[in-house]
Symmetry: C2
Subunit: 128 residues, 2 copies
DNA sequence: CTTGCCTCTGACGTCAACGTCAGGTTTTAG
DNA sequence: CTAAAACCTGACGTTGACGTCAGAGGCAAG
């Protein structure tokens, strides 16, 4: 029933993180792993997606403490109404951050455009 | 010719950061301030926007070292072609991060929707 | 003029997300 | 069979973005 399984180094390279990071995630309760007879970690292939999600949640400004309660539900699909509130709260935070980043990108675009034009037309540097 | 000026505490509360953070930004060369006769920092009102931009750049995953060279150009509008490359590179990073966050938001949405439905219809927890 | 709040400059403390090293076992390639 | 490569568990080190405390000076109000 099981698809391909991965060892920690393979998962690390496929997910674009370090081996150390994966052990850290496990330590923080973000990522679970089976163990082989000799004690080596064995991951299902969908762990790649889970790791990427963790990275994205970090990028969204969440800390491990905030990610930990929501990862089990990503795996099992079970959510308490209490957790649902948290999910929606985090969703809102992410939306906020997306808005800020879009703003920032547009600001950079404005600068880039002005400069590109002034370079193109040989003008010194238009302002005001 | 100058509009309203702000003291550090006022700027901090208007920009939603701490006083310590503002001093830190100055230390890192991200934010410049005039000084009153007695040595107190005096900011123009547009410093509020600059601080928010700094926060957004932090949220985009940039470090102070990466923000420092681009802030002067935000103020003056002057950009070297070398800096233009950096701006475009950072812009690309920001776009990437926006993409990741949108993905993450959608993933959360999927979970929220499924749970909301199952709660609504009294089902245990649909999966597979 | 003093009381209370704001500001200043150091300087040390903190916390999260890893990096890195030590010392040992396991797996794989030849 | 053996050597290299990957893995294991501690455990200490690092870095960035501030927090916090100490000690001193500035400024509007009564």
């Amino acid at each position: 029933m099981r698809g391909i399984t991965l060892r920690i180094g393979e998962l690390a390279s496929q997910a674009g993180v370090s081996v150390r990071a994966l052990r850290y995630y496990e330590e923080q309760g973000l990522l679970t792993a089976e163990r082989s007879a000799s004690g080596q970690r064995v991951y299902p292939d969908n762990a790649v997606e889970q790791v990427k999600l963790i990275q994205n949640l970090y990028a969204a400004g969440l800390a491990s403490r905030a990610i930990e309660p929501i990862m089990p539900c990503v795996r099992t699909g079970e959510v308490t109404p209490e957790l649902l509130d948290r999910l929606m709260a985090e969703r809102a935070r992410i939306e906020e951050r997306i808005g800020g980043l879009v703003e920032t990108r547009d600001k950079l675009d404005a600068i880039i455009l002005v400069v590109a034009e002034s370079l193109h037309e040989g003008r010194p540097c238009p302002r005001d």
